[in-house]
């Protein structure tokens, strides 16, 4: 058997030694030095690509290294040391591999992007109501904690009764699994939130600045629309999945994947707003309540950007002229949301007892 020219590093010094390697009966014979590296103990340092040398180590030889340039050497060696074949990437074409893996990654990303909203629905559907209510209760607590000192829930009895009548009237128009818990919180912010489990919080500022009870009814119906579509629960599930994905990407592309996921969730949440608008207007129509004041409210908020900062509902989903128009076009109700006495009581819901 003819020898192959090689460079040998003994592992204790970096000085290269010219060597000749021959394929023996049980292993590689390295001369000079008369060392033998058994075939079973041979390992490649890295995957070998076309035109690259074979760089070897031996399990028993510590840090010693052997570098052989001749391409036929590795092919001949693999017949005796088949464990090396796994690391032999010569002759594999990069183009098809790149195309294949790209397609695979694209398919995985598409499955997640489109599957996420589709999958969160069924998952949300199997979550028992009791869980969802507990989730909503926790979310409500932390929302109130965020408001800080203005966390007082308003409890003037006439106002609460008026709000309950409005809630019952809207809720009767559309079947849902929830017993709605609607609270007004004493905060000057003009905002409303829907939380899992049928919890809705209206902030006093919304009622204070509403021109009519129909605007309040419209916002309430919109939030109930979110609840019926279970957007809060779904987005919680979506966020969980995104968190999980971020772990997958962590350290590699996490920051960029995070940005992409954020964009995806935002675009889904815009769809959710439209759905809630649609359901809300349906409820107003069935309860025969005018929708125009809700449209007017959208327009006013849009034109009053000072509000945007304090109002996360507005800043993540800016009310647009388009949304106002849609609400106006679809609204068919003609009646009032409540009596003048009820409206007066609702506006005074946060007044302290005399």
């Amino acid at each position: 058997m003819t020898g192959f020219g090689a460079r040998f590093f003994d592992g204790s010094s970096s000085a290269p030694q010219a060597a000749t390697v021959t394929l023996g009966a049980t292993g590689l014979a390295i001369a000079p030095g008369a060392q033998e590296w058994t075939y079973a103990g041979l390992r490649l340092l890295e995957e070998v690509y076309e035109g690259r040398p074979a760089r070897l180590r031996s399990l028993g030889a510590g840090d010693a290294r052997l570098v052989v340039d001749a391409p036929v050497f590795l092919s001949a060696l693999e017949a005796r040391a088949p464990q090396l074949r796994r690391y032999d990437r010569r002759g594999r074409r990069i183009g098809p591999a790149a195309a294949g893996w790209t397609a695979g990654v694209a398919a995985a990303i598409a499955a997640i992007y489109f599957g996420l909203p589709a999958a969160s629905g069924p998952i949300a559907a199997v979550i028992p109501l009791a869980w969802e209510e507990r989730l909503g209760d926790t979310a409500r607590e932390s929302f109130l904690a965020q408001l800080g000192k203005s966390r007082r829930v308003c409890e003037a009895p006439e106002g609460v009764a008026a709000l309950e009548r409005l809630t019952a009237r809207l809720s009767a128009t559309m079947p849902s699994r929830y017993a709605w818990h609607v609270d007004v919180v004493d905060s000057g912010e003009e905002n409303a939130v829907n939380l899992p489990g049928g919890y809705i919080i209206l902030l006093r500022g919304l009622i204070d600045r509403a021109k009519s009870p129909e605007a309040v009814a419209g916002v309430l119906a919109h939030e109930m629309g979110h609840g019926i579509s279970r957007h809060g629960t779904k987005s919680l599930i979506g966020n969980l999945v995104v968190q999980m994905l971020l772990t997958v990407f962590a350290g590699d592309s996490s920051r960029w994947a995070g940005t992409a996921a954020d964009v995806a969730l935002r675009s889904h949440s815009r769809d959710a707003e439209r759905e809630a608008d649609r359901l809300g207007v349906d409820m107003l129509n069935r309860a025969d309540i005018r929708a125009a004041p809700l449209a007017a409210w959208f327009r006013r908020i849009a034109a009053e950007p000072g509000q945007a900062k304090a109002n996360d509902y507005v800043s993540t989903h800016p009310p647009s002229a388009a949304r106002a128009q849609e609400v106006e076009a679809r609204g068919t109700g003609k009646g009032d949301a409540m009596s003048a006495e009820d409206w007066k009581a609702l506006r005074a819901i946060c007044a302290e007892k005399k």
């Binding site: 690509y49 995985a108 592309s253 945007a308």
Partner: protein
Amino acid sequence: MSNSSTESPGGAAAAATPMAAAGILREAGAAPPPMPALVHRVAVEARFGELYVLFMHNLLLSIGTLSLYRFWGRARIRRYLWSRVALGGDAFEYAGTGRELFRGFLAALAIVGFPLIALGLFSDLPGEILIVVVFIVFWLLRHFAKFGAHRYRMSRTHWRGIGGSVDGSAVKYALLGNALDLLLILSLGWTKPWGDTVLLNYRTRRIWVGTVQARSTLRVGGLYGRFALSWLIVGAGFGVVMYLIAENAETVASFDMLFLETVLLYLVLPVIWTLGMGIYNIALLRNAVRAATLGELRFTLDVTGWQLARFRLANYFILIGTVGLGLSYVLLRQVRFAARHLTILGPVESIVLAQREGRRIRSEGLAQYLGLDNF
């Protein structure tokens, strides 16, 4: 291997000084030098297509295995990259394994992750406090993890069979780093040049290649002028951006604030930061490279601040534009950029390094867990 500690590192032919080597550079048109080449560059033989396939393979398998594959994928990518960077005709070698990375991750999970999870489950602390606690713990462990990763990587890097190693204590480094961070905050950033110098010297001086210990004589002198300029530019830039956001929140009607904020925060701020800090960063980098020696080897970095800033911004926008999928390309660009601008002065060909005994360490420690590794 028993005689390794008695061998003297460095070749005998190394009469050259960096001055002499630089002189050769300048007189490139003159007669060829009669001695072996003393000016070396690192050769990069990596190919984008190959690296891209490795990255995509890693990404897809990571998704499929709920991220568990990433440790093995990362080791594979490192093996590829190390093997395609050569000095003096011989490629480097990455001797680490995915199993080691995974083991480090598990250990960190047990030491840091589980206690924090337990704290979240069994304590009555409100969520906001918990987030702050987790943030502080991770922040404090940052330097510790970085040092561990640095030490692990050096110990798994071989050249001509000889491995690197790092002395010193990760705990000490972390204490030093956190103390300097505190000073940085208290001084509104003005201790940064000095702190950077201290940390860089600490790290570099503990690096060994074989039995040769690196030296670093980085000084803070000359850095403060540039830092002041950087500080003022970045400070003014941030001020203007914050003012614009606040101003427009008040006055711009029906404008998509989200869009404006996105442009300012992801486009304008990074540019201001990179260009502003670049004035200082390039000086720090160049000085650090010039102050480091390894036996008879000296190093220079011939890159301007503008080149570096332009390069970094391009990388940033490539990553954003490809939602992270271009990371393989950016990584290759970084390796090539470093190789193009780094000059190694000294008898690379004839240098003889001896293996250092007892240099093995077990794993990378916390870095994998904290997500500090870029690949």
